[in-house]
């Protein structure tokens, strides 16, 4: 079976700092992958390269047969890639309701060229469904600034899934969230994505989260992938324990 995502020879340097060294990796349709690595290992650079925020110096990023390497974020999004951010990128002066309406509007057939009312029946139905799936109902009219960190993360992810992406990248979805809220947060996200066949790549520092929600783990170190496999195997790998999890005996 052809993988949904096939990356070959991806490279990126910032001056003398090599952030991505000849990365080659694939992802199957519907797969849940966890990306781990210490700070500066190249995880976010990898996400930025795939989603078009950064242009690779070399390499190919083929999604469903189309090479999207170097395309701007808007084009990458149209190809079926979406992402959330380590620091949620929301429209801070608007409510969660309005944030999601904008995301739904852009994802709709006629996009934002429409002069139709933002709160048309079709849009409201889509909005209500999204709010329910991500358990955001009670926060829908709150100010973004007043929302707890975890709720902001949920809004951020919910905005990313409005156009039913083929590939969804979540950059540290539980960072900045209280320890006891991390699992409930991931539960909500994974349940909301349950009916989708999107491939999900999530960057994560918490190995318990990775162990529970990832089917496959990619371990980054110094701009390279040093391990790729099922969670138990990768987390038990000697190099991963030495360079990533710091649990070497």
């Amino acid at each position: 079976m052809t993988p949904l995502l096939q990356i070959t020879g991806l490279q990126k340097s910032f001056g003398a700092v090599v952030a991505a060294r000849d990365i080659s990796v694939f992802a199957r349709r519907g797969e849940r992958l966890g990306l781990i690595g210490n700070n500066g290992a190249g995880k976010t650079t990898f996400v930025n390269l795939v989603t078009g925020y950064l242009k690779p110096d070399a390499g190919r990023v083929v999604l469903d047969g189309e090479d999207i390497a170097g395309l701007p974020p808007r084009r990458v999004r149209r190809s079926g890639v979406s992402r959330s951010f380590q620091i949620p990128q929301l429209f801070a002066s608007l409510t969660p309701d309005e944030n999601l309406l904008i995301a739904l509007g852009i994802a709709s057939e006629d996009g934002m060229s429409s002069w139709r009312p933002a709160r048309s029946a079709a849009m409201t139905a889509g909005l209500d469904d999204l709010l329910t799936r991500f358990r955001l109902d009670e926060y829908r009219h709150h100010s973004i600034a007043a929302l707890p960190g975890g709720v902001r993360k949920l809004v951020d992810v919910a905005m990313a899934v409005t156009h039913q992406p083929k590939l969804l990248l979540l950059d540290e979805p539980t960072s900045g969230v209280a320890a006891e809220e991390k699992f409930p947060l991931m539960d909500v996200i994974m349940r909301a994505l349950a009916g989708s066949d999107a491939t999900v790549l999530f960057v994560e520092h918490d190995m318990e989260i990775v162990g529970r929600y990832a089917e496959r783990v990619l371990a980054f170190y110094d701009g390279r992938i040093i391990a790729d496999g099922p969670p138990a195997a990768v987390l038990g790998d000697a190099d991963v324990q030495r360079y990533v999890t710091g649990m070497a005996s």
């Binding site: 990128q89 929301l90 709709s108 849009m123």
Partner: protein, 325 residues
């Protein structure tokens, strides 16, 4: 669709009320209101632009385009239909806006503001020096006709221009209200808040900015043509930076939450200007400045915030956005 109908019905009621009011109000007030509405249309364009986070200090370039298009059409072609001249002024300003928009759409903040100011001052320089455009003195316009109707007295001319300006005002206001409440309008607020996210969601910030800029140009052109017809005179001051500054003044005063507030603010400013110039002929600009200072101090979100509070509108989308708080 209900929103469209409600807005259109409100616009129609406002237009009928204005037409009737124009018959009973004193002529001096009709003149003041005509100019206020014409300038309000330009300020409304600025509000459209401000909603996507851009402030133009050079709307004078489109204002003068509309005015000179109307004036030169009368002078060179002999066409004097007010409706045609207003449409032509708007159309030429729109074309100019569409030409300039791609050049400016990538700029933000002070760079955008300064570039628009520079363009309007180039236009001022050209108008000031080119003699067949009237040079620094400009030129006078004779009274227009209105779809075959030739007003007999100066009062009739004033009233006819007032009706035409009122029509342009309610149409512009209704379309802007529909625009603000649409997905496209919401996207403008999004582009102002977080450009990166807008791009990641698949929309183009440049496109949003460019379209809003073109709409602002169209409205400035219409306002310019109507002002020229109302004043009966055109000169390069239409493009001068103080004229552009006046539109920014109006937009700040009204805030960008309410369409109605733009025209209320415009009428207040014209009245303050009229009375101040009568009673304090040498210091009326100071009176206007003091007025703006008081508004910024006590109504930092503009006059529109008063109207929204009265309507009980949620704070999120409009008022809070407006102040950037």
């Amino acid at each position: 669709m209900a929103g469209w109908l409600r807005t259109s019905a409100a616009a129609l009621v406002c237009f009928v009320a204005l037409v009737l009011l124009g018959r009973v109000l004193p002529n001096w007030f009709v003149l003041v209101a005509t100019l206020a509405f014409a300038k309000g249309i330009v300020a409304l364009g600025l509000v459209v632009l401000m909603r996507c986070g851009l402030v133009s200090f050079g709307q004078g370039i489109f204002f003068c385009t509309g005015a000179y298009a109307a004036g030169l059409t009368i002078r060179l072609l002999g066409l004097d239909d007010g409706v045609l001249l207003t449409a032509l002024g708007g159309l030429l300003a729109l074309i100019l806006g569409l030409i300039i928009a791609p050049l400016l759409a990538g700029y933000r903040g002070i760079f955008f503001a300064t570039l628009t100011l520079a363009l309007s001052m180039i236009a001022y320089g050209i108008l000031d020096k080119v003699s067949w455009l009237g040079g620094s003195d400009g030129f006078n316009l004779h009274a227009p006709s209105f779809v075959g109707y030739h007003p007999a007295t100066p009062q009739d001319v004033s009233y006819a221009i007032f009706v035409l300006t009122s029509l342009a005002t309610v149409v512009a206001a209704a379309l802007c209200r529909i625009h603000f409440d649409s997905l496209r309008g919401l996207l403008s607020l999004a582009a102002r808040d977080n450009e990166i996210r807008v791009e990641y969601l698949g929309a183009s910030v440049r496109w949003v900015s460019g379209m809003n800029f073109a709409v602002a140009a169209l409205l400035a052109g219409i306002g310019g043509a109507l002002s020229a017809l109302s004043l009966g005179h055109i000169d390069p001051d239409f493009a001068f930076w103080t004229t552009s500054g006046e539109f920014v003044f109006l937009a700040i005063l009204s805030g960008y939450a309410s369409v109605t507030a733009v025209f209320v603010a415009s009428i207040i400013v014209e009245l303050v200007r009229s009375y101040s110039s009568q009673y304090f002929p040498n210091t009326w600009q100071g009176a206007l400045g003091l007025f703006l200072l008081l508004v910024i101090l006590f109504l930092p979100q503009g006059l529109g915030s008063l109207l929204l509070v009265r309507r009980g509108k949620p704070k999120s989308q409009e008022v809070r956005a407006e102040s950037g708080k």
